[in-house]
Amino acid sequence: MKIFVPRDAGAVAVGADDVADAFVRAAEARKLELEIVRNGSRGLYWLEPMIEMATPQGRVAFGPVAEDDVDAVLDAMIADAAHPLRLGVTEEIPWLKRQTRLSFARCGVIDPRSLDEYRAYDGYKGLARALTLTPAQIIADVTTSGLRGRGGAGFPTGIKWKTVADTAADRKFIVCNADEGDSGTFADRMLFEGDPFVVIEGMTIAGIAVGATKGYIYIRSEYPHAIAATNIAIAAAERAGFLGANICGSAHSFDLEVRVGAGAYVCGEETALLESLEGRRGIVRAKPPLPAHKGLFGKPTVINNVLSFAAIPFILNDGAKAYAEFGMGRSRGTMPIQLAGNIKNGGLFEVAFGITLGELVDEVGGGTLSGRPVRAVQVGGPLGAYFPRELFDTPFDYEAFAKRDGLIGHGGIVVFDDSVDMAKQARFAMEFCAVESCGKCTPCRIGSTRGVETIDKIRRGERVAENTAVLEDLCHTLKFGSLCALGGFTSYPVMSALKHFPDDFAPTPARLQAAE
């Protein structure tokens, strides 16, 4: 008998390792030959640990399985009998069925350490096709697909690659930005833990397209499981000739190295990340020059997000048009959306652009875990705007969010119920910016500290109208005067909280008393 127990950190955090051990013991007691595959997560986190059993009808899921459930679940598996935790055929679970899984097609399905399984599920077919094309043809495909950088800025990937390809240099680099520091986002982590080869393949194709022979994956230190999984996959790809000299017998060579961050949020900003990779403080560089012209070690560099690279193999294998057919407006393809915070059905939901925020929170997410009404959702990480229920008709699309003073960022949605204090959240955003500011530019470094003080004054009831004007002015200065998105985007959570939840900023008797 063959079962699947996720090794994904999110599943492990709720007991997957203990459950796997319990299955081993239970099988031994029954003298049953049991093969346990440690797969990634399918992203249905409220059902984790979700255990699957291979059957002739497809995989059948059980979840959430606690250590104490294992004996009964194993008996039900053996007898193919009913069980309260039995969820039916995995692929038929509505939450999974409703998705369009392109980048995450294999995540949770295969053993992430097995290159053979990756290849059995269409892995490395994109690279095989790329090796039959010229670099210009590869870049044309990426451009046609309409893929925009999934890290948050949404810059067209094809244009970025072309700039690097067209810049002459003795060395070029591919850098994968895996510094997924936004709260509410975990797609990068899941992908590295569930299907690392797809990112490796995407980066290899990028290297061939622009003429780079070395790539770096910069992963944050907070993700030890992802780091381990990625290193194992790189070693396997090297052994099989998919990395290193003369990839698959071609004239192309490409080496990959994982570098670990050190707990600085600002290193998710691409130029700060490059500084950090060079062994320096993660201080933002002024642009221009763009990294595409002068990036890592002063050389032309493609720096893309994990999800951007993960979309590449599909585009090369299934075709740019097939990818572009998904989505709306100028947002093409799919977006792995992450539902988090106070939410009933939290997890990863990959879907074409265009689904509304309300559908995501209410239908897909099932509302709050606490059962109380949803009051606000923050989309796009700690520097994303807070949207009230009135804006739930906003479609998931870069431009639609921008039009309502919000941003999609890396696709994270954090749900808050009606117990949230929005002035406190606004203060947190300013404080976070103050702590994480690299210090290079004044608006971010000083503005954020003044922002915290000003919000405190407003909440204490000190000259509320004047201080609110100061706060708005600070946000304006941060937005337009900062060198990078850390300072530039801090105004989103603050201004949206002020605009949509003004009552929370009013001084309350309790707060006035505390201030005395």
Binding site: G184, F297, I343, G346, P382
Partner: protein, 158 residues
């Protein structure tokens, strides 16, 4: 009480640095490697790194102090990290952090007087769909409740 880490040793430190000095832009790589072995980056290592990489001491010190991860002194026997980012805040993380502070008698960022437990904030473990979350040493824990937190604190104190 035995430490998981080796005591500071200059020769050992020199070996580690020499083994990694060829890494291009490898300052963080070396700092991580030292902290992995000693549990923190001892002050005398800074001039050693500077000399191996042909950098000024100020440059290396600047890098060392910029990043939240690098410790200036040894941590407690166990390190309990609580996620304080938005997703965990939305799921009741504030109250849990306050509870951990009061049961350990220290504020976030500090180590208990008996050197057993260091309590630290962390900004996102990527476990946002099973919030609130924590990490005890290298073990991740999700869906934290008061009961589970109390058990973690007790385990850290042992």
């Amino acid at each position: 009480m035995t430490s998981r880490y080796e005591p500071w040793d200059e020769t050992r430190s020199a070996e580690i640095i020499a083994g990694l000095s060829h890494v291009e832009g490898g300052t963080l790589v070396i700092l991580h490697a030292l902290q992995e072995v000693f549990g923190y980056v001892p002050e005398p290592a800074i001039p050693m790194i500077a000399s191996a990489l042909n950098l000024s001491r100020a440059e290396v010190y600047g890098v060392f102090t910029f990043y939240h991860d690098f410790r200036h002194e040894p941590a407690g026997q166990h390190v309990l990290k609580l996620c304080r980012a938005e997703a965990c805040q939305a799921a009741g993380g504030d109250a849990l952090a306050a509870r951990a502070e009061s049961s350990l008698g220290i504020k976030l960022g500090n180590t208990t007087a008996d050197q057993r437990v260091t309590l630290e904030p962390i900004y996102c473990l990527g476990l946002c769909a099973t919030a609130p979350s924590a990490m005890l040493d290298s073990r991740v824990v999700g869906r934290l409740t008061e009961k589970r937190l109390d058990a973690l604190v007790a385990e850290a104190q042992r």
